[in-house]
């Protein structure tokens, strides 16, 4: 083994090759090679910044500046070369807004737009300025939206989730307020009508006032009052009912959960935003009695308005309906609580409360800003370190199986907005665990890149988990927001020039190791190998990771990085990190299995089924061959002739089920009867003899009592039944007068 290789191996295995480390040039700023294209982010058009819309549009609460501008360009700029100038002018303005974002305080799109216009016009001639202004005015007129513009920075998770929470809560509050206002109005109507029935509402004066001034002289209100009051006393509301309605009304009017239309918007209204779980829980429990009372008042009001309140039944229920009876659907009516947390600030006590909260039914929406995914390297050398610290909250919460979970990063919140919205509307707790960048990353590395790297490298995969989704685990997990789902590691094409200035295209994977190169705490776990020491036993880390332990002998894994001058470097990786990367890959595999990709159980089951089917088929063929062989004159060959391999056709005749028409039960030919289902309720027979003929529960006639009339009654009814469905049968009394004639007439209806 060469000296160089020994050196490389020794660093890889022990992380302690001083000689190699000392060769590192500390001044060189290395970045993962795949970052090469992103050195000037603000010059690129990509899905950030976002506009948090003041007014949601078609259900969308947010739109990226790029999408918005594209939309406007589509609307107002002619396609092709005709529109090139205007398109470029609008795009220049977009670029300016991106630049401004980094220098001005948080602003709305409108302000930024005007500011950018001003800056860009500063040094233009009047003529050019006029042209530019025209283009921008047209574009602005087509925009029709405004809202705070936010960039992908460490504040974004909070701004984004809070914005969504506010938008969704505004809808919920609107629904809630409308419902409560309606109930108040309707209950009020019931009381008003009752009041109008009272004697005090019928005094001559009240009657006069109710008419208006114009025709007051035309009536004698004294007599009118006398007349009204001398009539039978109107039915009034029972005292108990009135009391109940008034109590419900009082509760509805004094509630603090929703805005009232007739009072000052915010007076006494509860707030629902918190910075600690314990404070949110405390508020929840403090308000719980109010919530239960309001919930019951709504139930009473709805029943009263529908006139369905039944004291014997409902008094009992409502007396007992406490907090324990609240279902998620009841709670879904009430506002949810937003708690913003930073994982850094969670002490163990607050962590325990958080887990408690997430396993409850309470509508707590918890935003957890994650700042450290890998965790600090262990101070003890070679101590196993799992590198998935940042994922633990989301993973633990999924384990509780009660809460909605969204894991993501600042960079892909825009793509996970549907999940965020569902989490907020989920009828229970939700955790939004969002990686917001870390202070362990180089200060000049844009948060967009570091947080995107977290997702791309599988160090912090994006997913959501909806415990209420029907249809099994794969339906509960949604992992679609990750790039290249089918692949173990994300790979991209990488183009560079070699020493002979020839273009080389290579596929580079972006692994958790590349992500670790960004973290200053892990600098010592990589060693930059000078180009002249590159060895043929060096292997790209992804390839190395694929190898079995014995195949790795004498091989050294490396990652590719570039420096400020865009020169390529190879960094040997400490074995401890290789183990962490393997662990990370396993995590990703597990997540993919949960999400329905490469599900090992399904694959094994499918394999079993296909083996079983193959065996059955083989057996069937075997049987056929045997049958054929036993027939004289048929030669057996390797495979059965096609016609014989077919399933024997089923004998249709033997399986056909006789369709039996349901016959009416044979009526007693001697007895009288009516074909009741055909009766048209014409009253003819019932008017003739109401004891003999009666209506059943469907108001159709039957013979109720044959002895309640004569045979003559029966025969005459039969004759008069327009649909001829009365059959008189034989007479009960053989001595009835005129029987002979009656029997002859009855024959028509036998």
């Amino acid at each position: 083994m060469s000296v160089e290789l020994q050196e490389l191996l020794s660093f890889h295995r022990t992380g302690k090759n001083r000689a190699l480390k000392d060769k590192k040039e500390p001044a060189l700023k290395l970045r993962p090679a795949l970052f090469a294209d992103y050195s000037q982010l603000s010059k690129l058009r990509y899905d950030y910044p976002l506009v948090l819309l003041d007014e949601s549009r078609n259900g969308d609460h947010v739109i990226s500046l790029m999408d918005l501008i594209n939309e406007v360009l589509r609307l107002v700029v002619p396609p092709g070369t005709q529109g090139t100038r205007v398109r470029q002018q609008v795009l220049a303005l977009e670029l300016k807004i991106r630049e401004l974002l980094r220098t001005v305080p948080p602003s709305k799109l409108g302000e930024l737009w005007r500011r950018a216009e001003k800056d860009l016009l500063a040094h233009q001639s009047d003529e050019v300025a006029q042209q530019l202004q025209e283009s921008w005015d047209t574009a602005w007129a087509a925009l029709r939206v405004d809202g705070l513009v936010v960039d992908c920075d460490s504040e974004l998770p909070e701004q984004f989730v809070r914005h969504f929470w506010r938008c969704e809560e505004a809808l919920r509050t609107k629904r809630g307020s409308a419902k409560i206002d309606r109930l108040i109005l309707k209950l009020g109507d019931i009381l008003t009508v009752d009041e109008l029935k009272s004697e005090s509402s019928r005094t001559p004066r009240k009657l006069r006032d109710s008419l208006g001034s114009r025709y007051q002289d035309a009536f004698d209100f004294d007599i009118m009052a006398e007349l009204l009051n001398s009539a039978a006393a109107p039915v009034r509301l029972p005292a108990q009912r009135k009391k109940r309605i008034k109590a419900a009304l009082a509760t509805l009017k004094s509630q603090h959960f929703f805005k009232h239309s007739d009072t000052d918007a915010s007076a006494g209204q509860y707030g629902f935003q918190y910075r600690s779980v314990s404070a949110a829980m405390a508020a929840w429990y403090e308000r719980l009695p109010d919530l239960v009372a309001l919930n019951n008042a709504i139930a009473v009001a709805e029943l009263e308005i529908d006139n369905r309140y039944c004291e014997t039944r409902h008094d009992l229920y409502l007396g007992r309906l406490g907090a324990h009876a609240l279902s998620p659907a009841d709670l879904a009516f009430f506002p949810s609580y937003l708690v913003s947390l930073s994982e850094r600030d969670l002490d163990s006590g607050e962590q325990a409360i958080l887990m408690d909260a997430l396993s409850s039914d309470l509508p707590l929406k918890i935003l957890l800003r994650v700042n450290d995914i890998l965790g600090s390297p262990s101070p003890v050398d070679a101590q196993l370190h799992n590198g998935v610290r940042g994922q633990q909250f989301a993973a633990m919460t999924v384990g509780l199986n009660d809460a909605f979970v969204v894991q993501g990063s600042s960079s892909n919140l825009y793509h996970e907005q549907a999940a965020v919205e569902r989490g907020i509307n989920f009828g229970g707790p939700a955790l939004f665990s969002i990686y917001a960048g870390s202070c362990n990353m180089p200060a000049d590395l844009p948060v967009y890149l570091s947080t995107a790297a977290a997702i791309e490298s599988r160090a912090f995969p994006a997913y959501s988990y909806d415990p209420s989704a029907a249809g099994g685990l794969a339906c509960r997990y949604d992992i679609e927001a990750n790039p290249q789902l089918e692949a173990q590691w994300v790979a991209h094409e990488f183009i560079y020039e070699d020493e002979a200035l020839q273009r080389v295209t290579e596929t580079l994977a972006f692994t958790m190791l590349d992500f670790a190169t960004l973290d200053v705490r892990y600098a010592d776990y990589f060693a930059d190998v000078p180009k002249d020491s590159w060895h043929e036993n060096m292997r790209p880390a992804v390839e190395y990771l694929e190898l079995a332990e014995q195949e790795r002998q004498e091989l050294v894994p490396y990652v590719v990085m570039i420096d400020d001058k865009n020169c390529l470097h190879r960094l040997v990786v400490d074995d401890m990190l290789i183990r962490v990367a393997a662990r990370c890959a396993q995590n990703w595999d597990t997540l993919r299995e949960f999400g329905g990709i490469n599900n090992s159980y399904a694959q094994a089951a499918a394999e079993r089924v296909s083996q079983h089917m193959a065996a059955e088929k083989e057996q069937a063929l075997e049987d056929l061959r045997a049958q054929l062989a036993s027939r004289p004159g048929v030669a057996t060959s390797g495979s059965a002739p096609a016609a014989l391999a077919r399933e024997p056709e089923q004998d249709v005749a033997s399986v056909a089920v006789e369709t039996i028409e349901p016959e009416l039960e044979d009526a007693d030919p001697e007895g009288a009867y009516i074909e009741t289902p055909r009766c048209t309720t014409c009253d003819e027979c019932t008017a003739r003899n109401a004891r003999m003929f009666a209506y059943d529960e469907n108001k159709q006639a039957y013979i109720a009592d044959l002895t309640a009339g004569t045979y003559r009654d029966l025969v005459e009814a039969a004759e008069n039944c327009q649909v001829a469905i009365i059959h008189p049968g034989k007479p009960l009394d053989p001595k009835e007068a005129g029987l002979e004639d009656l029997l002859a007439r009855a024959a028509d209806f036998s």
Partner: protein
């Protein structure tokens, strides 16, 4: 779907409504009048659907058939001749939570109220309209109506009416924004019930023409149809009416007709050979006017007062100084 615990607790054990609860006053129709059969079918429907009596309104115009609301144990509005539909529309617009039924006669609907019928069809508000067609003005003791067959001798046409009968089915099938048209006969209770039920279940304006016997003034009008099942053509379809085996045996003339097929429906209505019975047309995707015009804010007395005052202020002449 998630259910509120309070709903579950409070609705469990709701008492079952019997058919009698939907009965109002004693009907004063002639014995043998087909209106009685329609009344029974409707009361049965209310019972089967367990409708809350306070949530149901029957609106009618004037005529024998228009006495219907009196005989129901629900809310009702016995209106003006020909004006049942505008009243029903007003009720539905303001109280979309109520089930609205309309009972109207051939005179009420096709004569004096014809314009309302056309527009109500177009508005497509969710209500069930039963047009009791006895081919005559019954209440006023026998005057020819638009649907009276040519030659009908009546108080207004003593020498027999001169025109061919107006066809309400063909007419309604040509109206705009149609969503449900059916024809029933009062003397086949099973079909009558099924058709009214489908009309009720359809969300939109369900127009059901019911051939109704008036033994008093048109005693023989439908006699042949009642006696001879061959005179009817039963429209069947898995999305329309399916016949019980008993009925299928008696009524041999059946035609499979998809209620979505408007042209087919028009053809059926246009052929006078046999009387079609069943669902001619049903389209569930036509929007209801009351949904399109839902108020965005709660209509409170204050709001109404404010609106009125704004309107009236337009006519106020303010002193110049």
């Amino acid at each position: 779907m998630a259910v509120r615990a309070t709903d579950l607790l409070l609705s469990s054990g709701d008492e079952e409504h019997t058919l009698e609860e939907y009965e109002g006053r004693m009907p004063r129709w002639c014995t043998g009048c087909g209106d009685l059969a329609i009344l029974a079918a409707v009361q049965k429907l209310c019972r089967d659907k367990q409708l809350n009596r306070e949530k149901v309104v029957f609106v009618s115009g004037i005529g024998c058939s228009s006495r219907f609301p009196h005989y129901m144990g629900t809310y009702g509005f016995h209106g003006l001749h020909g004006r049942a539909l505008p009243v029903a529309e007003g009720v539905k617009m303001r109280r979309p939570d109520l089930d609205v039924f309309v009972n109207t006669g051939d005179g009420d609907c096709c004569s004096i109220g014809a314009a309302h019928w056309m527009h109500a069809t177009r508005y497509n508000m969710n209500m069930t309209v039963m047009m009791h067609d006895n081919n005559i003005y019954g209440l006023t003791k026998k005057q020819a109506s638009p649907t009276s067959p040519k030659g009908t001798r009546s108080n207004t046409t003593p020498r027999g009416s001169d025109l061919d009968a107006f066809d309400p089915l063909a007419a309604t099938l040509g109206m705009s924004n149609l969503s449900f048209v059916a024809q029933a006969v009062d003397w086949i209770p099973e079909l009558l019930y099924k058709i009214i039920k489908q009309g009720y279940e359809h969300r939109g304006f369900s127009f059901i023409r019911i051939l109704q016997r008036c033994p008093e003034f048109m005693p023989n009008r439908f006699e042949a149809c009642v006696q001879d099942p061959d005179k009817l053509l039963l429209l069947t379809h898995k999305n329309g009416i399916e016949l019980s085996p008993g009925l299928a045996k008696v009524y041999k003339n059946q035609k499979e007709h998809d209620p979505l097929d408007l042209v087919g429906a028009q053809e059926i209505a246009g052929t006078s050979e046999r009387v079609p019975v069943g669902i001619l047309y049903r389209n569930d995707s036509v929007p209801c006017y009351e949904d399109l015009r839902q108020p965005t804010e709660l209509i409170t007395p204050q709001l109404i007062r404010k609106g009125l005052e704004t309107e009236l202020d337009k006519f106020t002449i303010w002193p110049s100084d």
